[in-house]
Symmetry: C2
Subunit: 222 residues, 2 copies
Amino acid sequence: MFRKLPVSTIERLSLLYHHCRRLRAERIERVSSSRLGADLGIPAHTIRKDINFLGEVGDTGSGYDVSRLQRHLAESMGFDQPHKTCIVGLGRLGSAFLSYSQLEPDGFPITAAFDSSINRLETIRTDIPLFPAHEIAEVVRREQIEMALLTVPAESAVEAAESLAHGGIKGIVNFAPVFVNPDPDTIAVRNMNVVNELRILSSLSTLKEANPQPLPEKNKGD
Amino acid sequence: MFRKLPVSTIERLSLLYHHCRRLRAERIERVSSSRLGADLGIPAHTIRKDINFLGEVGDTGSGYDVSRLQRHLAESMGFDQPHKTCIVGLGRLGSAFLSYSQLEPDGFPITAAFDSSINRLETIRTDIPLFPAHEIAEVVRREQIEMALLTVPAESAVEAAESLAHGGIKGIVNFAPVFVNPDPDTIAVRNMNVVNELRILSSLSTLKEANPQPLPEKNKGD
DNA sequence: GCGTGTGAACTGGTTCACAGCG
DNA sequence: CGCTGTGAACCAGTTCACACGC
């Protein structure tokens, strides 16, 4: 249908979808691109361009109907269907997600969780079914799990990702500080690495000091 | 010195720096751009271009000296100095970081942590100094804290970010699902939102199904 | 010959400017 | 008159191709 959405556009539309839900919760029914831009830190014309990838949705002269916009986003990007998700690695971070109740209502029900330590599996108390790591592929396939949060130590990340691939996973959010992608043609990976983000921030600030110029202004109107 | 590094280049160089440390730990002293590219999922010529922003560093015909490369990266991007870091919000996620011992050796010592619940502050046992949220600005300024991990609920994020700004923070890693940036000219923000990453993954997979074409190959050699 | 360094060509995402419509 | 929609212009980053040094 909509070939070739730039990834950056997908990222922004995903943000936008979330913002629509928020606006609806606040009973706001109508919003302009410039308002959206200010709220999300994105230039207004970029917002309009992005939305137009989905076809015409706005009402000329009076902005966007929040509900309609949300519906359009949900339908065309698949935000309306839930996607079964699993957690691989139940250290501190994985455990935190295990009890992060926001995932289910946002469309990502945690359907299974894995750890290589049987000991640890027996200790954790939760309603979510827990399995040993060697059953990853089997369970993912059986339960048709699409998404994975990969929260294992760096040493185990590649192997765990391969198991997920064997199970037919569709996407991985990788928290380990190593590159994993068993099969780039089939599996998408997003990396979330705190230390790396901190490094990026620190070099941005270092480079800025060395060359004092304001960061490009991004959240103004048109 | 090196004006105008694209942010994407900074991101890759930061990854590269981390990889250098790993290689050195494995006693690997010499590496080619194509090898680096394969390890990091980045095309080899992009690696070379990125590295060249720092000036000539490689040895023609025989790749890069890992130690020298690491040193160059550290010096020009400020990776060698430690940057004091704080945690704002001690829920599950914030607490996980509080005991994530990797931050200190990677150059981001946790110097303080904050929460608005005095009760919670009294419960947590740690060597890191804890403070009530209303002291954020004061402590950040006094301790010269540069970085913050913002792990508060969405409702409190904007306010917390403003306090950090008052304290003169340089960078914020924002885990809350709202846009925060009190002062784009002075403060850099990186957003890490699991639900958003999951949505991006799900729409990538949805759009791919609707239009079955392989994702662009990224981790091949030259 | 292998692997870096780099100017040149390219590509595609972002920005602009304005037409069109309520 | 405000705000969307959009083709055109722009520009930044990526990709290419090849010269040069080991």
